[in-house]
Point group: C2
Chain length 147, copies 2
DNA sequence: ATTGCGAGTTGTACTCTGCAACTAGAGCAT
DNA sequence: ATGCTCTAGTTGCAGAGTACAACTCGCAAT
């Protein structure tokens, strides 16, 4: 087995370990905001507002799932919908003030946990690791077999 | 925000994306074996048989959840229960022949999917990525009670 | 035998999810 | 303009996964 094949095996195994583990600890890490809700809010903050369809595509979720998540977040007062004047089919989603505050609070708590976990990593490794993960996930969202 | 802090944010976000996606799409990719089922079968293979309670403890699942999973796996003919002659409360779970075959098959398919997804990565990047994941998970299991 | 503990099952309720059918707006071809 | 097709989003439905609580049954100590 080549070094590359060994590395792929390791990546598979460790990603599986992580996936299983994340499910178990998701509730503990951010009990007031579900995993998906948190992710969607974060995306809205980064993007400065986007469409439900964009969220669905980016996270490989069905549009109906996003629709319901969005409805729940709106009900909770965390986001608001703004009709796109250019295209009346489109609702541009934005964080509300409350949404920004809640997101910031949860992010602080999560960040503390991650920082502690990654505290002794050299900066160069952190940057590379982040890049690898982005690359891996980008490839996965490009329509390839997910797993 | 420093480069390291930005990287930590990205790692956090991408790990979350992956975790959710892996869980959601495992069912689509491997209809006959959910991520949890796959993990449980793998554990049974490694351990050479164990109790439902052990599975629950190891994966931080409720015993009722494990009970139902086990029932489904037995219904599917992948595992069998053997009453412990020492203690009639206990059912020792074992893989069946079929269970071993299915587990091996799914493992092969998962491996192929990972290989394809990572096919165009330079070997040096694969090796580093694998190392980062191992390091991350090792730290996670040592510190915070994740599983 | 009584009491208490451990293993496992079942009833119930909830969330997340996808698929399919639907509405409605936009854009293009004729 | 008229119609066809595409896109954005909603809703009905079904199913998996999960937890909690109440339960049964077997074991062990007193």
């Amino acid at each position: 087995m080549t070094a590359a094949e060994t590395a792929v095996e390791t990546i598979q195994r460790e990603m599986t370990v992580f996936a299983r583990r994340a499910r178990a600890s998701a509730g503990r890490m951010h009990p007031e905001l579900s995993l998906v809700s948190y992710t969607l809010l974060g995306h809205l903050e980064e993007s400065g507002g986007c469409r439900a369809t964009d969220l669905a595509a980016h996270y490989a979720l069905d549009k109906s799932t996003v629709s319901r998540q969005v409805a729940a977040l709106e009900r909770a007062g965390l986001i608001e919908r703004r009709l796109d004047p250019e295209d009346h089919r489109v609702q541009v989603l934005h964080l509300t003030e409350t949404g920004q505050e809640v997101l910031a609070q949860v992010t602080r708590r999560r960040r503390a946990a991650f920082r502690e976990r990654l505290a002794d990593w050299p900066e160069a490794d952190l940057v590379r690791f982040a890049g690898y993960l982005e690359r891996y996930n980008a490839r996965a969202s490009a329509g390839l077999a997910d797993d």
